[in-house]
Assembly symmetry: none
Homo-oligomer: 84 residues x 4
DNA sequence: TCGCCTGATAGTTGCC
DNA sequence: GGCAACTATCAGGCGA
């Protein structure tokens, strides 16, 4: 029955991927809709994209800063959850 | 107050896009997880990907066929909703 | 003389790309001409495009099928050039 | 026989387009090869692309300048081929 | 003829 | 570190 089980597993895998991809496609469509709406309200989609990109960079940078801070505090034994 | 309204709109737009992108990233992560799980169960991800791609291609072709048929029927004035 | 050689190489590269792009642009023009001619002969360019697209999709699918078959046979160690 | 002739024409059109597209694809491949070669020789493809783009802009600009010059000279009756 | 929209292309990121 | 998949951008084609 190994064959049958494998086939079943394979089918499950493929199906799950397809479902997820479908949901992804939906979301991409939603994003496009927001850009379209933005355009209709007089906002330049290109600039909106830049803003989104910049904010993402900011977030990444902030997280890096925090990670660095964490690293230092841990190294100095200043962490709250250390050595309990 | 136009300025304020515009700023508000802009903020709404950017926020909504960011939320959607977050959800998209989650789904991409889920897809990756399924591939990882597949690999752990002995399935070659490369083959899985090809299967998914092929099934997608099948769907695309089916849709193209229908679109073509539509195009022909419309071109020939055979459309059901014509001449009402 | 490394600088000089590099400059020469760079020039050769850029020139070759430009020549190829020019040829590409010519071909794109030729394709457009065929569509124009088709239109003059009463064929709807839209339908022609769809036919071309569909035939391309057919080819793609055929190739995908073969690639998949290849992948399976290789995965199962059934390849002719194995174990020599 | 109109049907037959039309079918023949259609086939000719589609075939010609496909041949041209094939040639186009070949050239695109050649261009990619040049970029690959450039990379192997230590040139950054990104920069090469910028150079190509800039030179194209330059050419466009030069052509515009010439067109403008033409316009003026014609307007002033200074063109060599006028009034023959 | 202009604006939109789809398809082609260039750039980026993640995997091997 | 190179390569391939994916994403974002851009240009050409279509419809109003």
């Amino acid at each position: 029955m190994t064959q049958g089980i494998a086939a079943e597993q394979l089918h499950s895998i493929v199906t799950r991927i397809e479902t997820l991809e479908e949901r992804k496609a939906d979301i991409v469509g939603d994003i496009r809709d927001v850009y379209t709406e933005a355009k209709l309200n007089g906002f330049d989609p290109k600039i909106i994209r830049q803003i989104v990109r910049l904010r993402k960079l900011d977030r990444a940078e902030r997280e890096e800063q925090e990670a660095l801070l964490d690293l230092y505090t841990h190294a100095l034994g200043m962490t709250a959850d250390a050595d309990l």
